[in-house]
Symmetry: C2
């Protein structure tokens, strides 16, 4: 894990500040409080403040911002909801933070085509509120109320990805401002296309280093006719994981399948005042027709029973489901609460489903050997799981142990044909892992693309690519 | 539509020929018959022969080929099964054809993870034969027995894409040789990842212009427990299209939903000796559990009935289904057979589902006005349809009318928020349309990527990007 190395740098050029102030008035700020608010995310990394923050309202304004930054060689850091876990929005080289929170309009809802056009600052909850009554929803749910632009930039996913895919599958098209100030439109509203290079998916997951996303066309899904959720406790983590593997391999189209180990359940019980049995647990959700949901649930119950699953408890009322998933979403904070004052170093590996049991068992051994507190939870239907390693941010030795633990978990995942990050992204915390995962030649190819599209390295510099 | 402009050029350098002959022996050929075999695809474009053909067996050999081509500035044209419809494999600037047909090993079947690792020359039918008994299948089906490498390169899809996605969703990872001779590995076997730029999807659909794919990890699906297929005739194309739109909008997970107009059905009856009613027709296929398939079929039957659908005829026996889909797959040749000696100019637009009726009705008017014979068929669940414009290849005036008709159909599709190609690719036939669809700035961004990864323009030159 790299530490941010704020380069010694000059303050922003006066001419640049004047240009922005004239164009944006009160929507441009160099105030300490505004900079401080934009200088940290949800990760454990130290704050790194931008020199100024601007709040654009349109693609044209973003293009003007990029032109000014290019003229004065000012780094640009895009900012969504600030819920990143890998330091994406830390201004480690200073520069201008472009806060998209005021570009938060839902521009068009195409009910008949099940897609929506949004500005990047729209959050997923806001989008689903706007879709109320349409019969459609945006299923991706990373827990935090992240912005759609930020979710695209980190190729986010979350609890529903096992059924509905990730942002890679969800984004149909983009408008983006490139480093040269030009506005491009990628993709489109057709469901498939063989028309040229896939610039959409090049920008999705690029963490703001190849262009600033100013508009997104996103795929929606019909609200399922029937939904049911259930909780099931298991005698061991292994038994729970075997249940997951068999469910996926049988092709049961579960919408959510989440693993929590006993410690994680204890954290949830304390934080969310729930009374779940403190054992390894799976949370399930099934979507479909009434008959389909019943069929799915019956299949999974049978698998779980064979693995010693206990207490298959149903939450059929919407309010019970909401309480359940809210508790699941609050797990990160519930975990932090196990050790007041701590921050979380979150691991995010993802492995092929057949290697999941080995990856999790290995992680549990590593955690035990480390002496650290690190509850495990995860979107196990995808082979993705997290450990929230609780650290005292003022204890460098402990932070080092946490980073060593993270490295061991990642190295095992890579040896098991997995990835160092299933959904959080590289940021600057995982650049060594990027290299270990893809190799020098592939990372060089990424660098060639970056240099071609951003020769002056102005877009979110220091993120994703080591040595850039 | 551009015409291929074979540049005046020298023969292959002697030193280059000597190098390849020494390394590959009989697997390197400059024989006229071999060159001629590799000088055309299934399109109407005139033949353009490579100067030589080589048949590599490994990634290492491909890297050596690229190194030799680079040293001698010899263009490289990758060749799969030759079933392209947009001239992708025509050697319009001469050079070396790299025929991947002898790189046709299925390297690993990961049943538990539902993925497979293949060499690029493996064809889709070969792959499904290799999967026999595994309980899994590779659903993508473009009709032709295309190679998996070629399908990835054109971002192909076909009849099953409405349920299982396209090659964009199916390719999990790649090994590729870049223009500098370096071997990269992209993606991996984890189901999702936020690790760096999406080089996998940059290469998928790049038509061999950014790298030569030498290995692919491809997603598989469980064989459905139950399958049923049906044919339904409609009083009008509009009624059939309305049935499709409502089916998709209701979220019925049909596996296939294909439209054939009356003329197309007539062509099939003649060519495949079937006795289908010569009316606008939909072919359906449903995959799922027995109950799920019944539920899907009941929903669709109800929709079809409301639109005046007649003769909902079931093909439940596997041999009846095979006959049905074989007839569907032979449609291209059945259409050509409507006018013996003709070749097909195939259009391939794809529009948002809500605009499908307008796009098809407009195409029918354009065809009528053109005086040409051009049956319509299509993967309408995706909003994708084809017209096969039958032309006398020796009649330039007719070819020009066909191209004008193609242009009108594309222009309407773009105006309806669609794409000029749903699944066939750009090749050199659609470069003007690429520009019209994406605009100068986006195509320039593609050019920047191309120049960064292939500065000497050696990889399939003259394809995809206008002016390169």
């Amino acid at each position: 894990m790299n530490s941010p190395q704020p380069a010694a740098r000059d303050a922003l050029p006066t001419a640049f500040v004047d240009t922005l102030r004239t164009a944006f008035g009160a929507r441009f700020s160099t105030a300490q409080a505004v900079r401080a608010h934009h200088g940290h995310d949800e990760s454990h990394f130290p704050d790194a403040l931008p020199d100024a923050v601007v709040f654009p309202h349109s693609t044209g304004e973003v293009a003007a911002i990029v032109a000014a930054c290019r003229a004065h060689r000012v780094p640009i850091v895009p900012y969504g909801a600030g819920s990143s876990l890998e330091g994406h929005i830390l201004a480690i080289h200073g520069g201008l933070c472009v806060d998209f929170s005021e570009m938060n309009k839902v521009l068009a809802i195409h009910t008949e085509d099940m897609d929506v056009v949004v500005q990047p600052g729209v959050t997923r909850k806001q989008l689903n509120a706007a879709l109320h009554g349409s019969g459609l929803f945006f299923p991706l749910d990373p827990g935090a109320d992240a912005s759609i632009g930020g979710m695209a930039s980190t190729r986010a996913s979350g609890t529903n990805a096992v059924r509905y895919g990730t942002m890679r599958e969800s984004v149909l098209g983009l408008t983006a401002v490139l480093a040269d100030g030009r506005v491009i439109r990628t993709g489109g509203r057709a469901r498939k296309s063989s028309s040229g290079y896939d610039l959409t998916r090049l920008l999705v997951g690029a963490e703001g280093t190849l262009g600033l996303i100013t508009e997104l066309t996103v795929r929606l899904h019909p609200l399922p006719e029937a939904v049911s959720a259930a909780v099931c406790a298991f005698p061991s983590v292994d038994a729970a994981v075997r249940t997951v593997i068999q469910t996926i391999q049988l092709g049961v189209p579960v919408a959510r399948i989440e693993l929590l180990e006993a410690l994680t359940v204890r954290a949830i019980n304390r934080y969310s005042k729930t009374t779940l049995r403190e054992a390894p647990t799976l949370f399930f959700e099934f979507h479909g027709s009434p008959a389909g949901v019943e069929e799915q649930a019956a299949s999974v119950q049978e698998i779980a029973r064979e693995q010693g699953g206990m207490d298959f408890e149903w939450a059929t009322r919407p309010e019970d489901r909401s309480r359940l998933w809210q508790a699941r979403h609050d797990t990160y904070f519930a975990c932090l609460n196990l050790r007041p004052g701590s921050r979380g170093v979150t691991t995010d590996v993802c492995v092929p489903i057949s290697r999941l049991a080995e990856a999790i068992a290995g992680a549990r051994e590593d955690i035990a050997a480390s002496g650290l507190i690190a509850p495990i939870l995860g979107h196990v239907g995808d082979g993705n799981f997290h450990t929230v390693i609780l650290v005292d941010p003022d204890n460098p030795a402990e932070l080092e142990r946490a980073e060593a633990l993270n490295r061991r978990i990642v190295e095992r995942a890579l040896a098991l044909d997995g990835t160092c990050t299933g959904e959080h992204g590289i940021g600057f915390g995982k650049q060594d892992f990027l290299l270990a995962e893809h190799g020098e030649a592939a990372v060089d190819a990424m660098r060639l693309v970056k240099r071609a599209l951003d020769p002056d390295n102005l877009l979110n510099p220091g993120k994703v690519l080591p040595g850039l």
